[in-house]
């Protein structure tokens, strides 16, 4: 029985706090959103965790290119895979939220579309990994593609949606939540939630890496 690393305790504690406080603490009364604002602690951190995990994956890919380290490659894939799980969950939680606030499962919102393209982009990354038999070639070339994909994902999620009208806060004239509608009560849960989900992602990726290592 190995001892759990400290960050895992932090992760468990924060997740329990997120779920309990996220459902119990008072939230501001907003038109249309009503109680569904609580989804802020679940939907938004999914994307934050995805972006952070993909950033971590890109960093591991830089390491692969520098040192040809197979362990870094395992981490790059594992964190990208975990990020995709978070992306899919972000999309599902977003669609449910959109159904009750915007009226449609899919409103063709620029950020919704961009997120879907982002998932396609990383699907291409996993497809590419299947194209090589030689592991050293696979890890280098897929690392290069990973580093190509990350800035494009950032452009898709943070630059393009701001150019057009969007239903999401912070785009096309809608205020970002930092300015107006994210009040201190929400912040008290939201920031710990982001950290909690990200740590959970790292935990999942670590298990994935260990499994890959054992299979070898």
């Amino acid at each position: 029985m190995s001892r759990l690393k400290a960050y895992k305790w932090v992760c468990v504690a924060l997740l329990i706090y997120t779920v309990v406080a996220g459902f119990i603490l008072p939230v501001p009364r907003l038109n249309i959103l009503q109680e569904s604002i609580r989804n802020l602690h679940f939907h938004v951190p999914m994307w934050f965790a995805m972006i952070l995990l993909l950033g971590y994956s890109a960093w591991q890919s830089v390491k692969v290119l520098r040192t040809d380290d197979g362990h870094a490659d395992a981490w790059a894939v594992a964190s990208a895979e975990t990020a995709m799980v978070f992306g899919a969950l972000g999309m599902i939680t977003g669609m449910i939220w959109a159904r009750y606030t915007w009226g449609e499962w899919w409103s063709g919102d620029p950020k919704q579309n961009a997120a879907a393209v982002g998932l396609l982009l990383y699907a291409a990354y996993f497809t590419l990994r299947g194209a090589f038999d030689d592991p050293s070639r696979r890890q280098r070339l897929s690392a290069i593609f990973n580093l190509l994909a990350y800035p494009i994902l950032i452009a898709l999620l943070f630059i393009l949606p701001r150019m057009t009208d969007s239903l999401h806060p912070g785009n096309g004239g809608n205020p970002a939540f930092g300015q107006y509608d994210l009040d201190d009560k929400l912040r008290l849960v939201f920031y710990p939630a982001v950290l909690a989900w990200f740590l959970l992602g790292i935990w999942m990726a670590e298990l994935n890496v260990r499994l890959t290592t054992l299979r070898k």
Binding site: L120, L128, R140, I144, L148, I152
Partner: protein
Amino acid sequence: MKPLMTQIRFEWAQLVAGSKLGSLVLFSAASTFSVYLALGTLGRDLSAALWSILFWVIQIFSAIQIAERMYGADFQAQRMFYYQNTTASRALFAKLVVQSGLQFGLAVVSLCLFLLLFGTEVESLGQLCLSALCGSLALTALYQVVGAIASATSHPARYTAVLGTPVSIPVLLESIRASKRAVDGLELSLNTFSTLPAFALVAVGIAVLLYPQIWHE
């Protein structure tokens, strides 16, 4: 400077060899004409929005075609030559010059055909050419990385299309927006026309950083 010119001439020779150039021009013209005929079945009523979309979708297909030809069987046969005679950055630069020129040329062919066949009134031709140029440069830079990665797989043509399509979506969207504005004749300002050139610069930057890494393979 001289080795660079030699390399550019070499790339140009590669392009002309085996009727690659002719087939690309034919592809671009034929796709534009197909679009014209296809729309003819619906009455040829083409708005500027639809026009820009179709134009840029053809450009994406052209970019895939160029990458397939320039990183196909010939490139694989010449890999040793490249490795011994030139550096990664010089090869990339020569490829960027020749291929973005080619991509822009194909865009002009397609553009002329669109204007001729549909008789669209373009308010600002200069702005349209500028957006075509920036878009071509951005696409070419992205497809250098994609094409070079794909050439290392067992099916270069397949992977060029699979990897290239999602990668080129931001550039596609921004190019469509820029050329739509040119057709409508909206005023050119730094605010409205800075994203596409910025994308082109970032794409070239990414290619410059990543290309030498592929080179070592």
